[in-house]
Amino acid sequence: MTIRLIFSYFFMVSSAAFAVVTVLGLLRFPDVYTRMHAAAVVLTMSAVLMSIGTAIYVWEFFLSIKIMMIGLFFLFSNPMATHAIARASYKRKIALPKEYEIDAYSEYLGRDSDEHS
């Protein structure tokens, strides 16, 4: 086992650990927005780390470049999609945080924060 494989397995195992943390967050967080936050932040990190590990594992120039492009795509698209879903669900009042003390986005939208409590 060369040092390259050790590096690749290190990245893959840490990516799997991040994925486990994602599942824990999805199961244990109280409401929609915190769950989305877990899926956005930690799952993006997990996918990027997994693509880095795979790119080191195959270790061939064009294949590694393609896998890294997939990782870059995840890095752009996953937070963007989470942002779009969270914003739409807030604006359509699908999921509203009832017990938050500070709700700045409602004030930004000009919505009365006591309206939906």
């Binding site: 492009m69 698209s77 779009a84 914003r87």
Partner: protein, 239 residues
């Protein structure tokens, strides 16, 4: 009397059809084990016959190219039916689209999605993929334009007329290559001999890449037309 003649005629036609079917069926070779069957022939000689590294593409666009022509005709019929039923007017209902962040991010990513779609289409004979898959990726770009930037943007960039021209052009490419097969090789949709080159290069495998490009544009434009005629009068909110 008339009824009896009619019944006799129907019975005769049915008997003739049954005999013809049975005669055709009896011409088929019996089932042999897998070593002597058609799949082993394709696995062994497919690369030599067609020059395509991807054997599924070789089957789809060389051995069974007539079947693929029928499939793309089915897509054409589906698009025509959906547009006939669902499209109420040709003017789009505009929406403001999603937020600024989504617009900027997709402005960066959309050219790469298009590049990936063309890559899947043009490398259909070398790697997994092909016309149908790459066409779906190209249709996703039109869906992204409609949802993220509003359907008026999509209408200005690629109007339904342009999509119709693209779809018809794809189907015509397929048919023209088939007719060229008649003229130059002697059979409909036969692989064109003068286009073969060294195996594994981008321009090789006879007429397979060109059929792939035609099918890709046809499927992409067709799915975009389906989506575009389905979203009318449904996207009015601003998320």
């Amino acid at each position: 009397m008339n009824k009896l003649v009619k019944k006799t005629l129907i019975t005769a036609v049915l008997a003739a059809a049954a005999f013809a079917l049975y005669y055709n069926f009896s011409l088929l070779p019996g089932y042999q084990d897998l070593e002597k069957g058609i799949s082993d022939y394709i696995i062994t000689y497919g690369l030599h016959d067609t020059g395509s590294l991807n054997l599924i593409t070789a089957v789809l666009y060389d051995y069974r190219a007539f079947d693929s022509l029928g499939e793309s005709t089915v897509i054409f019929g589906a698009v025509s039916g959906i547009v006939l039923i669902l499209s109420r007017k040709m003017l789009p209902v505009s929406s403001k689209g999603l937020s600024f962040i989504v617009k900027r991010t997709l402005g960066i990513m959309t050219p790469f999605i298009a590049l990936f779609g063309f890559y899947v289409i043009t490398h259909g004979h070398l790697s997994p993929g092909g016309g149908f898959q790459g066409g779906v990726i190209l249709a996703a770009i039109s869906i992204i334009f409609s949802i993220v930037y509003g359907s008026a943007f999509d209408y200005r960039r690629y109007s339904p007329q342009t999509k119709t021209v693209l779809e018809t052009g794809g189907a015509l490419t397929f048919l023209v290559i088939g007719l060229a097969g008649i003229v130059m090789e002697g059979a409909f949709l036969k692989n064109l001999g003068f286009l073969t080159a060294e195996r594994g290069t981008l321009i090789s495998a006879g007429s397979i890449p060109y059929i792939n490009i035609g099918v890709g544009f046809k499927v992409g434009a067709g799915l975009a037309i389906i989506f575009y005629s389905m979203i009318q009068k449904t996207f009015e909110e601003d998320f």
